[in-house]
């Protein structure tokens, strides 16, 4: 479709929805303040405009008291927009941009999406459990995410430094993925998906409960995707198959999930494995070799106790254990080609106790203790084919971290809250860190909230950055790394207009010190990590959203961000200056069939060579029908409708400058509940 016609059509459709809403009758009846509401009958009560009083907390329109501008992606959003991964869902959040190197997906926040970062500056949690692994701090957000999208109840996206509550890695944002309970799915459910690139996915789930308060939700998922052949210009020579990586973008995996609850206890168990073929030949591996692949295995076990101890005091205690294993098979260039394998493992356990309550009048205190042990951290490197006599144990190290945090939300006067938080982190193989956060939240009117926030966060250098070396082949360690710190200043204005129109505007400024950067040492041409220096950034974000009673929704967000290094000249790599996102949902058939559309504009991003990955506009559309035939839910999605050819900047380990991304693709999904 022609760009001009599409734009006009989309714009007109949106305008039409808006005009219809304003023309529709139904204004408030008489309801003076102080009138005895109990004298009114139900019909009259239904005509009143109910003020969203500050402090009322609702699932839809919330003027939040949180010292941040939170975005919540619900399971309904995931269904309506056809989000296949957490990365797909984050792509639609203001200020976020996703980079896909055809192995993993990385999220950039507020213009910072440096290549080689492995999502280590964003804390990803599953029901409060840290997903960032103990070796390179990566948190999976693609198909390597351990939980099936259908099992997610909601994703809370909290931008800004969160170390005052969560410790290391909560540098730019905290993403909390909350999973469903058995009461969200009573009975058995079967789901099947088929899509482009010969992709298939199947899920079987079951939820049951008895009358004594015992409930369980179990689920199993398997997927397999053949992927496509991809052309890379940089490898267009006769000896490297003319630049074509044939059928090397495949991906497959399985995951199991179980959640049992009894009274105040919940036991969560999740295990997953994903294998992905690598078409990009990183780390000087041989191009178009089908043996190049990575395999990620995750395991999580969490026992949680949560109880309200009367008078608004809530106590949560958790005991958890997690496991992560990475296996990367790299066919090293040479004659003959040697298949080299990296195996990283990290297992850990920990406990967290948190108490939240109004211990003193006017003060809402949060007190927490967080102990974590990362044990059995190992990096092994070995030649697999032809096999070397023994594997090289590169490094092995355990680490224990203790965190204590305190946060006080003080109600100065009913319309002003001051939130002050501080966390101390002590690590036995690192540095002691103190992370403060201070916020003032002022409800100027019941419909307007102004927030001023200051926060400082840190990220400890991880095991990989400090210790990885492959004996001089491509990389070397640097054990003397220091933590990076960020100081963030933010001003947020939220306003609720009439007729359910919500607007949010924020301005931010942050400074990073001791940034850990992957560099190549010119002396020996090896890759290593250093605390290179300082970054300064600033920007503004604006979002406006309206929801209609029919279920229709329109949301538009725009953000401008500028990131610059104070030590090196040139454009900051992989940092788009402009991001604009439009989301619309329209009910089509008596509230049972919905059409949803997502239009995303990502600005130009500089690459490591000084070139750039061009800006692009991509659109996704999904048609979703609930219970269209008995208990069958069905959806049909088209991603990148215009088949726009766009690329993402590549990392240090790649020999290409940009990596081409997926063109138009489809997905059909059927879910049946028994």
């Amino acid at each position: 479709m022609n760009m001009k016609i599409t734009a006009k059509w989309l714009g007109s459709a949106y305008l039409l929805c808006v005009l219809l809403a304003t023309v529709m009758p139904g204004y408030a009846a008489e309801g003076e303040k102080g009138a005895d509401l109990t004298e009114l009958d139900i019909e009259s009560l239904m005509e009143l405009d109910a003020q969203h009083v500050y402090g009322a907390s609702k699932y839809s329109q919330k003027l939040s008291e949180a010292p941040s501008a939170v975005t919540i992606i619900t399971s309904e959003d995931i269904r309506l927009f056809g989000y296949r991964t957490v990365a797909d869902a984050l792509r639609g959040v203001r200020g976020f941009h996703i980079t896909n190197d055809r192995n993993y997906r990385y999220a950039g926040v507020r213009g910072f999406g440096r290549l080689g970062d492995y999502n280590s500056r964003m804390l990803v949690l599953i029901d409060g459990n840290r997903l960032n692994n103990g070796i390179d701090g990566n948190a999976p957000i693609g198909n390597d995410f351990p939980i099936d999208m259908d099992l997610i109840d909601r994703i809370e996206v909290i931008p800004g430094p969160g170390s005052s509550l969560y410790g290391s890695n909560a540098f730019f944002a905290v993403i909390n993925v909350i999973t469903k309970y058995d009461f969200d799915l009573r009975g058995a459910q079967v789901s099947g998906e088929a899509g482009s690139g010969r992709s298939f996915r199947g899920r079987v789930s079951g939820g049951l409960a008895n009358d004594e308060g015992l409930g369980a939700l179990v689920s199993a998922t398997g997927f397999d995707s053949k992927g496509r052949s991809i052309y890379f210009r940089e490898f267009d020579t006769p000896s490297t198959n003319g630049g074509w990586a044939r059928n090397l973008d495949g991906e497959r995996g399985r995951s199991f999930f179980g959640k049992v609850r009894y009274d105040d206890f919940t036991l969560l168990a999740a295990v997953s494995r994903r294998t992905k073929e690598i078409p990009t030949a990183p780390y000087e591996t041989a191009f178009n070799d089908p043996r190049a692949k990575t395999r990620d295995t995750h395991g999580l076990l969490d026992l949680r106790f949560e109880r309200d101890l009367g008078s608004n005091i809530n106590l949560t205690a958790r005991l958890y254990s997690n496991y992560w294993e990475f296996r990367g098979d790299y066919p090293e260039e040479g004659a003959p080609v040697v298949l080299n394998r990296d195996t990283f493992t990290s297992a850990g356990f920990g406990t967290e106790i948190k108490a939240v309550g109004q211990f003193i009048k006017g003060h809402r205190l949060t007190l927490g203790l967080d102990y974590r042990a990362d044990l059995k951290r190992r990096m092994i490197n070995e030649d697999v084919d032809p096999p070397a006599p023994e594997a090289r144990l590169l490094k092995r190290e355990d680490s224990r971290t203790t965190g204590i945090y305190l946060q006080d939300e003080i109600t100065i006067i009913p319309s002003v809250i001051v939130s002050a938080g501080l966390r101390y982190d002590g690590s036995d193989c690192g540095h002691d860190m103190l992370s403060p956060r201070l916020a003032a939240i002022w409800s100027i009117t019941p419909r307007t909230v102004l927030k001023a926030i200051y926060g400082r966060a840190f990220r400890s250098p991880n095991f990989y950055e400090r210790m990885y070396g492959d004996g001089g082949a491509t990389s070397k360690p640097n054990p003397r790394l220091n933590p990076e710190t960020i100081q963030n200043y933010e001003l947020v204005l939220e306003h609720l207009f009439l007729h359910a129109v919500r607007m949010q505007v924020s301005a931010f400024h942050y400074r990073i010190k001791n940034l850990i950067t992957q560099q190549t040492d010119p002396a020996d041409n090896l890759i290593l990590y250093r605390n290179t220096g300082r970054v300064r950034a600033g920007g503004i974000e604006a979002e406006i959203e309206k929801r209609w009673a029919s279920g229709a929704m329109g949301r538009f967000s725009y953000s401008y961000q500028k990131v610059e290094s104070l030590d090196t000249a040139g454009d900051f790599p992989n940092s788009p200056k402009h991001l604009a996102k439009l989301h619309a949902v329209y009910p089509l058939l008596r509230k049972e069939v919905f059409g949803a559309m997502e239009l995303l504009y990502i600005g130009t991003r500089a690459t490591l060579s000084g070139g750039s990955a061009g800006d692009y506009l991509t659109a996704n559309a999904t048609l979703y029908g609930a219970k269209i035939w008995k208990s069958l839910d069905a959806s049909m999605s088209v991603y990148n409708i215009f088949n726009r050819k766009y690329s993402d900047p590549a990392g240090v380990e790649h020999r290409m400058d940009v990596i081409p991304q997926e063109g138009r693709s489809f997905r059909i999904k059927l879910t049946y509940t028994f």
């Binding site: 808006v18 003020q51 609702k58 949560e306 359910a500 504009y601 506009l617």
Partner: protein
């Protein structure tokens, strides 16, 4: 900004998106109609609901037994129920009990769950399962978990949905006059 230049290939799209957004903002810029605090209105709703619901005979020991409305969740909501205390519904005095004072939720005639925490709402509903309690909640899933009435908000006006199947299961009889006003009714006769 070069981005908004009409000649830039996406300039037109961005301009249209911005225009649409601005229109959404300015269209409803008329004077604010009179309104009331959310929970004051909901308390009035709850009071009115009781006029349209019949409880099984065993729910009341005798004709002097009061109608007990239990409110669980947010502490501030109790204040909104003050005008309801002491009123009479079908000859019975209305008594309002909140949070910690609720001894046994199964003895409540009405249970208004203001907590939006799904787990808590589900726990409360489980604790009254099988008892003739008119359970009222505030989330869309409340009815899925077995609740009888759920408040919704559309366009700042309060609406409600009814799960008549759950009501009939515990022998609560909801008048068709009330069902008529609901946004949706499950298990309609």
């Amino acid at each position: 900004m070069a981005l908004l230049d009409i000649r830039h290939k996406y300039g037109r799209v961005i301009l249209v998106m911005l225009a649409a957004a601005l229109l959404a903002v300015c269209a409803p810029c008329s004077a604010e109609p009179p309104s009331a605090p959310e929970y004051d209105v909901k308390a009035a709703f709850v009071y009115n609901f009781t006029k349209f619901v019949d409880w099984p005979e065993v729910s009341f020991r005798n004709s002097l037994t009061p109608l007990t409305i239990c409110v669980s969740g947010k502490g501030a909501v109790e204040r909104s129920f003050v005008p309801i205390k002491g009123k009479y519904v079908k000859g019975r005095e209305v008594v309002v009990v909140a949070n910690e004072q609720i001894q046994n939720p199964r003895v409540c005639h009405v249970l208004f769950v203001t907590s939006t925490d799904k787990r808590r709402a589900a726990q409360l509903l489980e604790s009254v399962r099988g008892a003739a309690v008119l359970t009222i909640g505030e989330t869309p899933e409340f009815l899925d978990y077995g609740g009888v009435i759920a408040f919704t908000t559309s366009d700042e006006k309060i609406r409600f949905e009814v799960n008549n199947q759950a009501a009939r299961k515990v022998r609560l009889n909801i008048s068709s006059q009330l069902l008529r006003l609901a946004d949706s009714v499950r298990g309609q006769e």
